[in-house]
């Protein structure tokens, strides 16, 4: 696999405060990596280091095999960065601003107009080229920020909370865009919105107190998926349990069940068939997200909070089967 970015043991101190501890990240082509973490976990610090905005106190960063610290100009050629606050000049129009960004990244001559056109089209800014950035809504300014990050077709795209301040339709569009970018480039995006990570990312790192608390190759592996079902009449659990792929069934109140199945199979179809055969009156069948939230809370809140959460869960769920 084509490794685009390799950061090794990054440390970063602000005076005595250590904002990043031994952070290592590897990004391959086709990866959309979600960098999760509560506020102050070191997400922005890490991203600033990966993009050369901040020098790490120790550690090394390689972009496509080029060392960012020794050879910054060459390495930065392949980086597109959208910081937390889009770095836009509000007194320029979208076109003026994007042309400048294109030039800064070494695009010259006739290609500038093409690059601007392409970036605007991909971020849904086709009609706003001549408008002043200051007059655009927050969501559109965010898009201009994204357009700036992708204008030079970088291999590594780093987005710090790209969907903040957008309306649901825009969020959907931006996620589509990120998915599309992920097919050809490597994307790292930071967020604290869990569903976002689950819908968009294929890899997850969780940062907590400056260190990588959770690091895995794929989202699917980290917990078995669940299905929530509800029937109008009481059911017999045994026939549910016979369906292949089901790992565990927990009964909830009002004839509801939480069915945990392994990630390789999807028993939804089978559950519906059994429910119809048994005349249980199927009311609800919802694929639930894998327990990423739980993973996140466990990691970030520590053991104590984990126990509390589990206790609470048991109370709510009644008797586990």
């Amino acid at each position: 696999m084509n490794t685009l970015l390799r950061a090794t043991c990054l440390n970063r101190f602000y005076a005595d405060y250590q904002a990043a501890k031994d952070v290592s990240i590897t990004l391959n082509q086709g990866d959309i990596m979600g960098l999760l973490g509560p506020n102050g976990a070191g997400k922005t610090t890490t991203m600033d280091m990966l993009t050369g905005n901040l020098a790490p106190s120790s550690g090394s960063i390689e972009i496509k095999g080029i060392d960012l610290l020794d050879n910054p100009k060459q390495a930065k050629q392949s980086i597109g960065y959208l910081p937390e606050q889009p770095p836009v000049y509000r007194d320029l129009t979208v076109n003026e601003y994007l042309r400048y960004c294109a030039r800064l990244h070494g695009i010259r001559g006739r290609q500038i107009a093409e690059a601007v056109e392409r970036a605007r089209e991909r971020t849904g800014l086709a009609d706003t080229g001549r408008r002043l950035i200051d007059n655009l809504s927050k969501g559109y300014q965010q898009r201009v920020g994204i357009a700036q990050a992708i204008i030079h077709e970088p291999d590594v795209i780093i987005l710090d909370e790209p969907t903040v301040g957008l309306d649901p339709i825009q969020i959907h569009e931006i996620r589509e865009l990120i998915r599309e970018l992920g097919t050809r480039h490597g994307v790292i995006l930071s967020t604290h919105i869990l569903p976002e990570v689950q819908t968009v990312c294929n890899r997850i790192h969780i940062l907590y107190e400056g260190r990588i608390a959770y690091d895995d190759a794929s989202v699917e592996q980290q917990a078995n998926p669940e299905i929530l079902v509800r029937f109008s009449r009481p059911t017999d659990m045994d026939s549910l349990g016979k369906i292949s792929g089901i790992v565990e069934i927990q009964s909830l109140e009002n004839n509801g069940y939480r069915i945990i199945h392994d990630s390789g199979s999807n028993p939804a179809d089978e559950i519906a068939r059994v429910a119809v055969e048994g005349n249980w009156g199927l009311l609800e069948l919802t694929p639930a997200s894998p327990g990423l939230e739980q993973v996140f809370l466990n990691l970030t809140r520590g053991e104590e909070a984990h126990d509390a959460a589990t206790d609470h869960e048991n109370e709510k769920d009644g008797v586990a089967v």
Partner: protein
């Protein structure tokens, strides 16, 4: 790349009302000075005829006007440079430059050259007034050029200092006030040069004005040009170092 940043800098200055207001006011105040000098020259003309080698229009008008303008611009330059780096840091637009494939030196030089473009416009406009005298009399173009380049060099030195101060703070207002005091102090050194004999030489060398006056009078010497070049270079190097340190220390 330096030109890209410089052109952008100039464009941003020109889309803000500040630059236009500054240009308009300077033009207005210069005009007052200019008219004053012209009047004085006309009043004194009859007496000048008696001298063997009388000072011409250029000496009477150009040099004094430029000297006055220089002092006025000492207050204006901090306003022009105040935004260049501090606003980038305040508005978080600096990260666009920092994540682009450009070196810190190119960023600083780009910013600086952008300011120089603006200064060229400003000095050009100031020169139009003495040039208008050519409608009625002959002018020593060499002397005018010397005065204009003297003014430009002086302003370029001011701007480098202003740029450095601007890299130290996130607030344009603080940057403007601090640059003004720095420049004013360097200017004042000339006037306070009444202290001990030992310091006199040093102070004389540091003072901006001491190197500016000969240029106004039409003598462009390596000594004075080198002084301004060194002055600007020093502050530019400081600025680059300052930004590097920001990146290292965060």
């Amino acid at each position: 790349m330096i030109h890209t940043i410089a052109a952008h800098e100039l464009r941003r200055m020109m889309v803000s009302p500040l630059a236009w207001v500054v240009l308009a006011f300077i033009q207005f105040l210069t005009a007052l000075q200019f008219l004053d000098s012209v009047e004085e020259f006309i009043l004194n003309q009859p007496r000048l005829v008696n001298y063997e080698n009388p000072p011409g229009v250029s000496d009477w008008i150009v040099a004094p006007v430029f000297a006055d303008v220089a002092f006025m611009l000492l207050m204006v330059i901090p306003i022009i440079t105040m935004r260049s780096l501090s606003a980038e840091q305040r508005d978080k637009t600096m990260s666009l430059l920092l994540s682009s494939p450009i070196s810190m030196t190119e960023i600083v030089l780009g910013k600086y050259v952008g300011t120089l473009y603006f200064l060229l416009i400003m000095v050009g406009m100031i020169c139009v007034m003495p040039l208008s005298l050519m409608l009625g009399t002959s002018l020593d173009i060499g002397k005018l050029l010397a005065s204009a380049s003297g003014l430009f060099l002086m302003l370029a030195a001011f701007s480098a200092a202003g740029l450095f101060i601007s890299s130290m703070t996130n607030s344009p207002a603080v940057s403007a006030v601090a640059s003004f005091f720095l420049l004013f102090a360097l200017w004042l050194i000339f006037w306070t040069n009444s202290g001990g004999q030992k310091l006199a030489g040093v102070i004389e060398y540091i003072s901006l004005l001491n190197h500016f006056v000969p240029l106004l009078q039409g003598s462009i010497s390596t000594n004075n040009v080198a002084y301004f070049a060194l002055f600007a270079t020093t502050f530019l190097v400081f600025t680059i170092r300052r930004l590097d340190i920001r990146r290292l220390q965060g």
